[in-house]
């Protein structure tokens, strides 16, 4: 077996047992990433320091020091998470030269448990997009067919793992940005419960919805990674104080007696037939394994996208007001024609620094928050959000886990939907409600389309019940036969 076919747990075991050195691992993956990145555009930056980091891991191991469960695992981190002394761009021109003086908690925790930083991955600008096409640093391509989008916004992280440039990547999910690209690229993607993972050092898009999570080759890796990155952090006041259980040691694929809810509203018109086939097939697999399947109702599914976009863009318009050209980031050139007012100083810098989708969302959010429209849009969306959360809480009185599709449509061609933002937004129909409700969601590869694209299945659980997701996903993983499938481009 080639080294790169291992998952993160496997790599760490090899390094810990000294079967292979961390330097050897880092060298192998860095070379792979350098070779493949030109084809796929997964990374904005490759970290040459990764070899030195790996050397330190080897030194510690040779001295008998326990370096942690991610010993020598090369990790790709979405370029939305701050990395001390390493450029962090959010895929935006406005942060093109930004070098953070500190690291995100997630990054610190990965490194504290033995992981080494392979690089920073491509994304939609400020995580605003579902196709990775809004990045200021070029498109990222789906390894299963390079003319197609990898999904987004964590497209680069999904591609890096799917093409075995690294066994573990970190993404963020505000409305589906981990689960959707995970599904499109054939990797496991977890959006944890809101508050499970610290947002400290993660460049904010919509603060009440943003959550970072792992993108991996296997379910056990996702469980392990959540143990490492999750848990209380005083530097994020919305981070929960609930301690993280040992998920990876408690995975049980026993399905007997488990109640799985299938929301009727997830299978209405607009759902691609091949995606439906994969979900129905997984239902059969779980039924055979002893799970009890039941239809449930989530009638507000229909308004989740509207509710999400009104709230997310409102929060974004506020969060992104910090990019003003004063303390950090881009400043427009005023040498030839000086700004006459402070407003003009801000406006020229911001208009030059932000891309089209970011401007569109800032305008939508500013409108939803503005006097005369606030009650009808921002306040109303907040009220509907409560109803959506309560609807999930009620359904979880009847079942343990909810299962359904991740997306309504298959990966589309690069450029195909760029001019139709509404169509792009509507593809988030099954993912946004988990962010609104704050519940955890996971996408696990469960089948292939005739065209050769992987299809993921979405699992949802009550707040802080990620263990249930890992259990059911492991059962699907074992039965679906998707493990170890490699896209041709990377062979």
């Amino acid at each position: 077996m080639d080294l790169f076919e291992n998952d993160a747990t496997g790599i760490a075991a090899l390094v810990r047992s000294k079967s292979v050195s961390a330097v050897e691992v880092a060298t192998t993956y860095l070379a792979r990433a350098e070779r493949l990145n030109g084809l796929l555009g997964a990374f904005i930056l490759l970290n040459q320091e990764v070899i030195n980091q790996a050397r330190k891991i080897d030194d510690k191991i040779s001295k008998g020091i326990d370096v942690g469960p991610l010993a020598g695992v090369p990790v790709a981190v979405k370029d939305l998470l701050c990395t001390k002394d390493i450029r962090t761009t959010a895929a935006s021109k406005i942060l093109e030269n930004f070098v953070p003086p500190y690291s995100a908690t997630v990054v610190e925790r990965l490194e504290a448990k033995g992981a080494v930083l392979l690089g920073k991955t491509n994304l939609d600008e400020f995580a605003m997009g579902s196709s990775n096409e809004t990045s200021a640093f070029g498109v990222c391509r789906n390894p299963w067919n390079r003319e197609y989008v990898p999904g987004g916004s964590s497209g680069g992280s999904a591609v890096a793992v799917a093409s075995r440039m690294c066994p573990l990547a970190i993404g963020t999910d505000t409305g589906g940005s981990i689960r959707q690209p995970a599904s499109y690229c054939g990797v496991v993607g977890l959006k944890p419960t809101y508050g499970r993972v610290s947002r400290y050092g993660i460049i904010a898009y919509a603060s009440s919805l943003d959550q970072a999570g792992p993108m991996t080759l296997t379910v056990r890796d996702a469980a392990l990674a959540l143990e490492v990155i999750g848990g209380p952090d005083l530097r994020d006041s919305t981070c929960s104080q609930i301690e993280v259980p040992r998920f990876s040691e408690n995975i049980s694929p026993k399905m007997r007696g488990l109640k799985i809810g299938i929301p009727r509203q997830f299978f209405q018109s607009g759902l691609n037939g091949e995606i439906e086939r994969v979900v129905r097939n997984a239902e059969d697999l779980l039924k055979e394994a002893g799970a009890e399947l039941m239809e449930v109702d989530l009638p507000l599914t229909d308004v989740a996208v509207a509710t999400y976009y009104l709230l997310a863009t409102s929060e974004a318009s506020s969060n992104l007001s910090r990019y003003d050209g004063v303390r950090y980031g881009l400043r427009a050139d005023f040498t030839k024609s000086p700004a006459k007012t402070l407003e003009e100083f801000y406006a020229r810098t911001r208009s030059e620094g932000f891309g089209e989708e970011v401007k569109r969302r800032i305008i939508l959010g500013t409108y939803a928050l503005s006097s005369g429209y606030y009650d009808a849009y921002f306040k109303k969306a907040g009220q509907v959000r409560r109803l959506i959360r309560d609807e999930f809480l009620n359904v979880f009185e009847q079942c343990d886990v909810i299962m359904g599709p991740v997306t309504a449509i298959l990966p589309f061609k690069i450029g195909e939907k760029v001019s139709d933002p509404l169509a792009m937004y509507l593809n988030d129909v099954y993912t946004t409600s988990a962010n609104l409700a704050g519940i955890p969601g996971l996408s696990v590869p469960a089948g292939m389309t005739e065209q050769g694209f992987p299809v993921g299945i979405q699992l949802l659980a009550p707040h802080f019940e990620e263990q249930r997701l890992f259990n059911v996903a492991t059962a699907i993983e074992a039965a679906a036969g998707m493990k170890g499938r490699l896209p041709d481009v990377i062979r």
């Binding site: 308004v303 976009y309 400043r331 020229r348 939508l364 969306a381 009220q383 959000r385 109803l387």
Partner: protein, 93 residues
């Protein structure tokens, strides 16, 4: 319905300077978006408190204590222009 006046007013509030082409482009696109989003008005939300954060969190307080931070120079180095320990901006006021 989103008119060009609304786009221009929101852009002004958001400190964005749009080109004429962008104004036209955005008003068309956002008109379609808002038309699709209008359906939330049909949901009955009488007496419902808006949900601002999805999990039940209580406010945590930490001690108000000064902690040394060693990266002042590094932070200032991120500024487009600095003067000693100050951020420098062009004369705009």
């Amino acid at each position: 319905m989103i008119s060009r006046e609304i786009i221009e007013s929101a852009a002004r509030l958001a400190r964005l300077k749009l080109t004429e082409a962008e104004v036209v482009h955005f008003s068309g696109q956002l008109a379609a978006v808002m038309e699709a989003f209008a359906k939330i008005s049909k949901i009955n939300t009488d007496g419902i408190e808006p949900l601002v954060t999805p999990t039940d969190l209580s406010q945590r307080l930490r001690d108000d204590r000064v902690e040394p931070w060693s990266s002042v120079d590094q932070a200032l180095a991120q500024s487009p222009e600095r003067s000693g320990n100050l951020f420098k901006v062009p004369p705009v006021i």
